[in-house]
């Protein structure tokens, strides 16, 4: 067969792609007419909330749709061939050799019982037609390029012998090993820690620049888009509603959805703390997509014609198009939504009387003893929390940040009395309550919302039955839900509504401290803003102190009065949020701030980013000196021998470093 290769400079062309999921009860129209193209070397990000069809779209491009997904119509042209019309056998020639794929979870996309070499070498042999020995050399070469130390030896390791970051590097090496012209990555860094994410992003940037491969990546992280993408496509309800160069879309968004989305995240500059914008309503049900513009019910600029005809993507400038009738989207609305002027109020130093300490931790430690290798040897101990001293004043919000494994969640469990500290003391004036990360698993699926919120009241024997019912109704209103929700079960609520119920339950006993452990990380971007606004309001109205645990530094900075940065079970820096963010004293804080991309390409372009190398050491083997010594750029012999303690760095700030920045 001799295919006519059209002379174009596009790697991928998608024409009017429709992908439906034919379930038993209904047809879910996940992708509803998507068209775009990619040039060599281009990195295009597709952003959208869950359910927007972005993953279904990406998987359609290589026909890896899960049952019962089906490409209904449209063309996907890669290398002159229409993917939608190829046979399975022909497809296998395209997958790997022309299109490389990187999935979200490197653990489940690598076969756990096969060595890396067994998974990597055969595709190279097949696609490049090489004998095993040469294919192996190529594989080792790629592993070396993606930064795997001792690649020649590690190629025979099993995936479980590698860390998450290493596995994702292996995935990238596999995707690139047959020199594809196009790489499709579905949330390639979501499962990784922030510092590892920054390393992987940098790696992908360099490799695509070197090889000239184009890259399409799916993400929900606007910061990542700003740092990584040349172009961005915003998906909503199965359609691309805005497409253009990242700089242009972030600076001058034209579609109301993009405009709203960008205002739901805390301002990257961090100067003003205006209330975050909330997008009202819900995305449409894709079993039954609405006629006309699918965003119109949530749009302040909606007009009569939006309900009748669907706006198509039209040019708004060089390389920029949007699907809206209005040239400037929300800015053309008769009454554009203004940010509510109720700014988030930071607690003044003057308000905070030292006598009103509400929480104190003294030399708090939590060690988990491990299993000894031999009966006579000393068991290794995981030092999850290793000597934390913190205090909080009434009405203050303390943000705790750090990578996973730094002990921040263990600290929360100690505060709530879920675990007993190994040593140390906790004093709490009043009681502490918790808002959990995943609002779904924190509710008993067999209980109604009423019973869930009432539970703390029953358990503590508060009030009579009618009094409790009264209190439950007051609580559900306080978190902004209607009373009718009380009869429902958790699975009948959306993610944001569930998290509101989680907040209501935490407030039931009038706590003095509420610990929120990653309360927004399981939620979509537009819903996050609602929960953050809610927490800010409650702080103002009720004078509750919050401990806000997160790895999302922008949100922590937005909501917190003070920040404590944790590394390997210790607090390495503590001080007022804005100070810590703008002038970090500890090298780790600096590295963490650098690792986290800001959702603004203009800022990203100007930042000098120092990405720390290496990974978190095992908490089983904490170094004798400074815990951060193995990854620090300022490390000296003194750091490796002598452990720095948390001392006053400036008037308001503490840092645990021999050579603070």
């Amino acid at each position: 067969m001799n295919f006519m290769q059209p002379i174009t400079d596009t790697v991928l062309q998608v024409h009017d792609l429709h992908t439906h999921f034919l379930t038993e009860t209904a047809v879910v129209k996940a992708v509803n007419g998507v068209s775009f193209s990619l040039k060599p070397g281009e990195r295009v990000a597709i952003v959208g909330e869950s359910g927007s069809g972005k993953s279904a779209m990406a998987m359609s491009l290589i026909r890896l749709l899960a049952y019962p997904g089906k490409i209904v119509s449209g063309e996907v042209i890669v290398g002159g061939r229409d993917i939608t019309k190829l046979s399975e056998a022909e497809l296998n020639g395209v997958r790997g050799s022309e299109v490389g794929t990187i999935f979200q979870d490197p653990m489940s996309s690598l076969d756990p019982v096969m060595r890396v070499s067994e998974q990597m070498i055969p595709p190279i042999m097949r696609n490049l037609g090489l004998p095993r020995k040469e294919a192996r050399d190529i594989a080792v070469g790629w592993l070396d390029r993606v930064g795997i130390p001792d690649a020649a030896g590690r190629i025979d390791a099993y995936p479980f012998e590698m860390s998450g970051g290493m596995r994702q590097r292996v995935m990238i090496a596999m995707a690139l090993s047959c020199n594809p012209r196009l790489i499709i990555a579905d949330e390639p860094t979501t499962a990784l820690d922030v510092t590892i994410q920054a390393q992987i992003v940098e790696l992908l940037k360099n490799l695509t620049a070197e090889t000239g491969a184009a890259m399409l990546f799916i993400t929900h992280d606007l910061g990542l888009v700003a740092r990584f993408a040349h172009k961005v496509g915003v998906m909503y309800a199965g359609k691309i509603v805005e497409f253009g160069s990242a700089a242009d879309v972030f600076a001058h968004p034209r579609h109301p959805y993009t405009q709203s989305l960008l205002r739901t995240i805390p301002n990257a500059a961090g100067a003003e703390r205006e209330r975050l914008l909330q997008i009202p309503g819900f995305p449409p049900d894709m079993r039954n997509p609405p006629v006309g513009c699918s965003f119109r019910e949530r749009c302040a600029a909606a007009q009569d014609r939006c309900a009748v005809s669907t706006p198509e993507l039209t040019f708004r400038g060089v390389d920029h198009s949007a699907a809206c009738f209005l040239p400037n989207g929300l800015n053309d609305a008769p009454a554009p939504p203004k940010p509510v002027k109720r700014a988030i109020r930071l607690s003044n130093e003057a308000d905070l009387v030292p006598q009103q300490d509400i929480l104190e931790m003294h030399n708090l430690r939590k060690h988990f003893p491990g299993k000894a290798t031999f009966p006579w040897s000393k068991p290794k101990t995981v030092r999850a929390v290793n000597g934390v001293n913190l205090r909080m004043r009434k009405g203050e919000t303390l943000g705790i940040v750090g990578e996973s494994g730094c002990g921040k969640s263990t600290l929360a469990r100690l505060l709530l009395g879920l675990d007993e500290p190994t040593t140390g003391e906790i004093f709490i004036a009043g009681i502490a309550q918790m808002v959990f990360q995943d609002p779904y698993s924190s509710f008993n699926p067999k209980m109604t919302i009423f019973n869930i919120i009432e539970e703390p009241l029953i358990v503590t024997g508060a009030g009579t039955r009618p009094e409790r019912a009264e209190k439950v109704r007051a609580l559900i209103k306080q978190v902004g839900l209607e009373e009718s929700y009380l009869d429902r079960y958790p699975n009948q609520l959306s993610g944001g509504q569930r998290q509101r119920v989680g907040v209501a339950r935490a407030l039931a006993l009038n706590p003095s401290v509420v610990v929120a452990d990653e309360p927004t990380s399981a939620l979509d971007v537009s819903v996050r803003a609602q929960i953050i606004n809610l927490l800010c309001d409650l702080k103002d109205d009720l004078g509750i102190s919050f401990i806000f645990i997160s790895h999302d530094l922008l949100t922590v900075r937005y909501i917190s009065d003070r920040i404590a940065v944790m590394y390997l079970g210790e607090v390495v820096e503590y001080g007022p949020a804005e100070d810590v963010f703008l002038k970090p004293a500890h090298p780790y804080t600096r590295a963490l701030i650098d690792a986290i991309p800001t959702p603004d390409p203009a800022i990203e372009a100007q930042r000098s980013i120092n990405i720390i190398s290496g990974e978190l050491p095992s908490p089983l083997n904490i170094p004798t000196g400074c815990a951060f010594a193995s990854r620090c750029f300022k490390v000296t012999d003194r750091c490796r021998e002598e452990k720095p303690v948390l001392v006053a760095h400036s008037q308001k700030r503490d840092a645990a470093c021999h050579f603070p920045l």
Partner: protein, 294 residues
């Protein structure tokens, strides 16, 4: 004034029924429907056996020995002229009683001991589980035979003997379910308000283990019916002349060549009951776990 019966409470109860996903699904599930189509007539016939125009299960008729199935004796008669259908229906009564009792005993003990072992862990867990492991080391039929030969034959000993073999399995199942639930965030949420351990177990843990236990329970019932038939067939279960499906088959096996129906008819009924109980458990599982649906 007869209309005032319908209280709003009752009406709302009826309205709520379809909300149970299981109920709605059972009605629409093919396997469950097939199971019910087989089980319900058998249950009805068994329940109203004494009203049917049949001779009593123990009544002999020496003038009508080993007659082929006919209108008056749909399952034929045996070597003493007893009606095989009447005896089979009486045997089904015993079978269902055994199956239901064994499942109930296994569920009750399994829930109580399994929850205690899984929830408290440590020494309690080790004590309970080491006994369980000892029992699990014996094949269940051998265990039952051994126990029956010590205690004696009859309905109650058979039920206890079969249940003894099932209880350890249920303890083990319940324990593993509890272990997976124990670390759920909603348990932590209740612990932060200092909920008692009784509260955690009764409100949060046991209600969430009921669904998989019901599935296992219906399989255990089917299994118990087969074990009872085996015991009776071996002459260790229900003693003749009291009918049981097992001893009817045993009675008939000597005459298989002359009168195939004596053994075959009750055999088919056992097969139908056991099969439909398995279908029912599949149906329950699919109803409760949406991922099992294709």
């Amino acid at each position: 004034m007869a209309i005032t019966f319908t209280t709003p409470a009752r009406a709302s109860f009826l309205l709520r029924m379809p909300k149970l996903p299981g109920m709605r699904f059972l009605a629409g599930n093919k396997k469950a429907r097939l199971a019910l189509i087989i089980l319900v007539p058998i249950l009805l016939l068994t329940a109203f056996a004494s009203y049917l125009p049949l001779q009593g299960p123990l009544q002999t008729n020496l003038r009508a020995m080993m007659q082929e199935p006919s209108f008056y004796h749909p399952f034929g008669t045996d070597r003493m002229g007893r009606d095989v259908l009447a005896r089979t229906l009486a045997g089904v009564q015993v079978s269902l009683l055994v199956g239901f009792s064994v499942a109930t005993i296994a569920l009750v003990f399994g829930i109580v001991l399994g929850t205690i072992a899984g929830f408290f862990g440590r020494t309690v867990d080790r004590a309970i589980m080491s006994i369980v492991d000892i029992f699990l080391a014996f094949p269940s039929l051998l265990l039952a035979i051994g126990l029956v030969s010590i205690v004696g034959t009859g309905l109650i000993p058979v039920i206890l003997a079969i249940a003894l073999a099932d209880v350890p399995r249920f303890i083990r199942l319940q324990r593993s379910l509890v272990l997976s639930l124990r670390s759920r965030a909603y348990i932590d949420a209740a612990r932060t308000v200092k909920a008692s351990q009784w509260w955690l177990m009764s409100r949060h843990i046991v209600p969430n283990t009921i669904a998989p236990l019901l599935v296992a329970g219906s399989i255990a019932a089917a299994n118990a019916i087969l074990v009872e038939a085996s015991l009776s067939f071996l002459g260790l279960g229900i003693m003749p002349p009291s009918p049981s499906l097992g001893n009817i088959i045993r009675d008939g096996q000597l005459y298989l060549q002359q009168a195939w129906w004596i053994s075959t008819m009750p055999g088919v009924v056992i097969l139908a009951i056991a099969l439909s109980l398995h279908f029912l458990s599949d149906g329950i599982r699919e109803a409760l776990d949406p991922r099992a649906r294709k």
